[in-house]
């Protein structure tokens, strides 16, 4: 007995690490609440234009995105002249299906929201700055025809240049 006690007295008491996991869990929940999952794997890269008058969109769940930009992989569907892809949901779409697919996309996005949110649904156009307006115009006119009138031109924020 006495031998056992002797050995214990020499060692420093162990620090209780039981609460470390609680702290980390707290971090975890914090990050889960402030971030949002990437909803789609991007198959196009786009760098949005910069603007000074950008506004934040209110609710992420009421935003549907349409991506237009350069394709990442080699086997993606492109629009002529071949450097631009349009991505809806999880895939790039073929040129001949562009109009029909945008229509379907609007339909399914509206369908998946409840009645009162349908009119608050915003279509965010995430378009590379080098894209020509002809593709944007096609998408816009299709959105308009299908009564998806709230749109958003995604843009990065830059600080206002100095006032003269």
């Amino acid at each position: 007995m006495s031998r056992f006690r002797k050995g214990e007295k020499k060692e420093l008491p162990e620090i209780n690490t039981g609460s470390t996991s609680d702290i980390i869990f707290m971090f975890l929940f914090f990050f889960i609440t402030i971030t949002n999952m990437r909803d789609a794997t991007l198959k196009v890269t786009y760098s949005p234009p910069k603007a000074t008058e950008v506004q934040k969109l209110e609710k992420k769940s009421l935003v549907a995105s349409i991506y237009v930009g350069a394709p990442v992989g080699k086997n993606e569907n492109t629009l002529p002249p071949g450097k631009i892809s349009v991505q809806l949901n999880d895939q790039t779409i073929k040129q001949e299906d562009l109009v029909a697919d945008v229509r379907d996309f609007v339909g399914t996005e509206k369908e998946s929201r409840n009645e009162e949110d349908k009119n608050k649904l915003t279509f965010s156009l995430k378009i590379d700055k080098s894209v020509q307006m002809r593709y944007v115009n096609i998408i816009k006119s299709e959105l308009r025809k299908n009564n998806a009138l709230k749109i958003n031109y995604a843009a990065g924020k830059i600080a206002e240049p100095k006032k003269n």
Binding site: T17, T35, N36, M37, R38, K56, M133, K140
Partner: protein, 192 residues
């Protein structure tokens, strides 16, 4: 006699939660959706024939963007940096000049009778205009309207537009409306 259950070693709990934490950090994104919000005009009614709205010439600011991303405003070639002042002058018409848009007295909540500009900005772009330029133009026009709204807001309420309550914001929106009409695009270098 019940034996005390041996305590479970929780030392690795921290490791597990760290793993989870780093996983969530990787798959999620913080960046918020931001951009320039716009409202498209309602779809054309198939039955109704295209109504020609007679708009006085002085009430229209025509903004043309060509395939070279150059700007033509009311027949005058300008730089993008000048567009905001042009649009502000057009929408505000501070001197009540007869070449700039007329104003109509309207009764607006909180503001009383306010002369609302009848001006409409007509925006036409080429099919080959770059999206960047298009957004820049929209941005400049938005900036012009925002500055006018700030001006009205600080003269009536002594605050910036952004800091007002929604009800006040709505009445200022009525006082300084954002009327952009987008004409069908032109196609200068048609490729087909």
């Amino acid at each position: 006699m019940a034996r005390r259950a041996p305590s479970i070693n929780t030392g690795s709990m921290a490791d597990i939660s760290f793993l989870l934490l780093s996983f969530f950090l990787m798959v999620s994104s913080i960046n918020t959706e931001q951009g320039i919000p716009r409202r498209l005009p309602p779809p054309k009614d198939e039955k109704a024939t295209e109504q020609k709205v007679d708009i006085n010439r002085r009430n229209v600011l025509s903004v043309l963007v060509n395939f070279n991303d150059e700007l033509l405003v009311n027949g005058e070639e300008i730089q993008i940096s000048q567009l905001k002042d042009k649009a502000m002058e057009f929408l505000e018409n501070p001197t009540n000049s007869s070449t700039l848009p007329e104003k109509k007295i309207k009764e607006i909540n909180f503001l009383g009778d306010y002369p609302v500009s009848e001006g409409v900005i007509s925006l036409t772009n080429d099919q080959s205009t770059s999206y960047d330029m298009y957004v820049q133009v929209q941005n400049e026009l938005q900036k012009a309207v925002n500055e006018l709204r700030d001006k009205v807001s600080s003269s009536y309420f002594g605050k910036k537009y952004d800091n007002l309550d929604t009800a006040f914001q709505n009445s200022i929106q009525k006082a300084v409306p954002m009327n952009i009409s987008e004409a069908p695009p032109i196609d200068y270098n048609k490729t087909e």
